[in-house]
């Protein structure tokens, strides 16, 4: 038995492996993300803001001006917080500006950074135009621009994750955008529900329900497509987060459904739906760590 200082050896471990090893000392092959906690949180704030911006322009067209303005202000808050989170991940503001040095169509992160920058600018201008009292058409145009960029902002982050070597993100690359879209829709409904009664109470309730259904269905489809590779969504920290997300989603949807009777329940359900959307990004992010750390997933996914 090899006595290695500082390392406990199980008694039955042979000096050298007899079987053909499936990996190099069990070491990872691809790398786990080097990002900090801000990044999955940004996936949530950006996604929610994106869906809310689409609400604002649709509501304007629909004549629901109060609801539209409320949605726009919440979207603006998300658009302000998002770059702050990204800068905090990168360490210095100048580093975020480097993202806008070039536009690189092959890089989802580059396209996403430009989308975020355009989104924030359009929303800021819409707000300013509204405050200064410029004609409604100006505000509407800016809202429209943000409303077009918003749904892209809501799910480009899924493309960003899919375009990596991480086996669980890569394996779900065509369904993850649907998961993120659904979750952003539910989160937008959650934010509006939380904001309280008034115009759009029914609409926000429907958003939570439709979004939750879309997200849950897409997640199920993704898990079945992943098969054994989807294990990190069932075990460990990724699994716990995924489960917490799933439960929160259903509870949020049920409470919001009951919100027809009680505004309080709708608010509570809205808050839970928002939290569940944030949990989803955490679950996907964390599952990526597990999938990268165990080389078995990568080798398994590449077996002919």
């Amino acid at each position: 038995m090899a006595a290695v200082v500082g390392r406990e050896e199980p008694a039955e471990r042979p000096l050298v492996p007899r079987e053909r090893p499936r990996s190099y000392y069990g070491l990872p092959i691809v790398r786990r993300p080097a990002w900090t906690w801000e990044v999955p949180l940004y996936f949530f704030t950006g996604g929610t803001a994106g869906a809310l911006a689409a609400v604002s322009i649709l509501a304007r067209w629909n004549g629901q001006h109060r609801m539209g303005r409320r949605a726009r202000r919440m979207a603006l808050a998300g658009a302000v917080v998002s770059p702050v989170l990204l800068i905090s991940d990168l360490g210095r503001p100048a580093r975020f500006l480097n993202m806008l040095r070039v536009l690189r169509p092959t890089s989802p992160m580059s396209l996403g950074s430009w989308t975020l920058a355009g989104f924030g600018t359009a929303l800021g201008m819409a707000e300013a135009a509204d405050l200064v009292g410029l004609p409604a058409a100006v505000t509407g145009t800016m809202e429209g621009a943000a409303g077009i960029l918003g749904p892209i902002l809501a799910n480009y982050t899924a493309v960003l994750l899919g375009d990596t070597a991480n086996p669980i993100w890569r394996g779900g690359r065509h369904l993850l955008p649907f998961v993120f879209s659904g979750s952003s829709l539910a989160a937008a409904g959650g934010a509006l529900s939380l904001a309280g009664p008034g115009e759009g109470r029914v609409a926000s309730r429907r958003m939570v329900l439709v979004g939750t259904a879309m997200e849950q269905a897409a997640f199920l489809a993704m898990e079945s497509q992943l098969g054994p590779l989807g294990e990190p969504y069932r075990t460990g920290r990724g699994g716990r987060l995924a489960q917490a997300h799933r439960r929160a989603s259903w509870v949020g949807a049920l409470l919001v459904l009951a919100g027809g009777r009680s505004p309080f329940l709708q608010r509570l359900g809205g808050a839970i739906a928002l939290g569940s959307s944030a949990l989803l990004r955490q679950a996907v992010y964390r599952a990526g760590f597990q999938a990268a750390d165990d080389p078995g997933y990568l080798v398994g996914s590449q077996e002919p």
Binding site: P14, A34, S107, F178
Partner: protein, 273 residues
């Protein structure tokens, strides 16, 4: 050996229009595990030292490639019952593959990673903003962010030495010519004839070239290998892949998903109260 799904090689790469693509052929069958390459690389490129630690994994304390390890010598000990020789000791010096379709280069949002006139893949550290996208995109887990300054680092294939007509430090230091440097076309020729020799010898039955085929998942490597066992045994992915087509289909899926989102919203808003 094919290292990925077969697909046509990329359209005329930039370096074919101008210069000659230069690269490495690492022949693991003659590697003696001396780690001269690891040392020479650190010396020449001023790569910070790694924290010393005993891993217990044979003679390997470097463990894997990373921001501060641009060459890594793997030591694999294998005993097979049916093997008359008893222990098989496989050694191989790993390095950035300088992929034809380099995921790190394609996904980099700042354009910090570029294709040099030698066809190699190089990071400009004054442009890199440490976003870390390349780290998760590389199919080989090569490139890594340095803890202290947050930017990404990897093998440059000694870009500075190549510019003055020198060969990379590791290839120069290798005492057994396990690391060969030259025009990739010529190296591929040499590798094919070397493979035939190795295959004819006992223990060489499973030998294969890893990354010498332009039809593989990343369009072939600029730095490829002759391996005596399956890639995963050395800590390499069996079928590395990076396809631009995937990016297109993913954006397609994302567009449909975005429309569904808008549709869901429109539906929810249609009934007013």
């Amino acid at each position: 050996m094919i290292t990925g799904p077969r697909q046509p090689p990329v359209a005329l790469p930039l370096w074919q229009a101008g210069g000659t693509r230069m690269g490495f052929f690492t022949d693991s069958s003659v590697c003696i595990g001396c780690k001269a390459c690891e040392v020479a690389c650190k010396e020449w490129n001023g790569v910070p030292d790694s924290k010393p630690a005993w891993s217990g994994n044979s003679y390997d304390n470097t463990l894997r490639l990373g921001a501060d390890s641009w060459r890594h010598v793997a030591f694999v000990e294998r005993v097979r019952q049916d093997d008359a020789a008893g222990v098989r000791w496989l050694m191989s010096s790993d390095v950035c593959k300088h992929c034809t379709r380099a995921a790190c280069l394609e996904v980099c949002p700042t354009g910090a990673i570029f294709r040099s006139e030698f066809g190699t893949v190089v990071v400009q550290d004054d442009v890199c903003n440490g976003c870390g996208y390349c780290v998760v995109a590389c199919p080989f887990g090569v490139i890594e962010r340095r803890e202290d300054d947050g930017r990404a680092f990897k093998c440059t294939l000694c870009y500075d030495r190549l510019k003055v007509g020198e060969q990379p430090a590791c290839a120069k230091a290798c005492p057994t010519a396990s690391i060969q440097f030259g025009p990739v076309e010529e190296l591929r020729e040499a590798a094919r004839s070397r493979l035939e020799q190795v295959r004819a010898q006992p223990g060489g039955e499973e030998a294969h070239l890893y990354g010498a085929d332009e039809a593989d998942g990343v369009g072939g490597f600029g730095a490829f290998f002759l391996l005596l066992d399956r890639p995963e045994v050395y800590g390499l992915p069996p079928r590395p892949e990076y396809r631009r087509r995937d990016v297109v289909t993913m954006w397609g899926a994302a567009s449909v998903a975005a429309w569904l989102l808008v549709g869901g919203l429109a539906g929810a808003l249609r009934w007013r109260r």
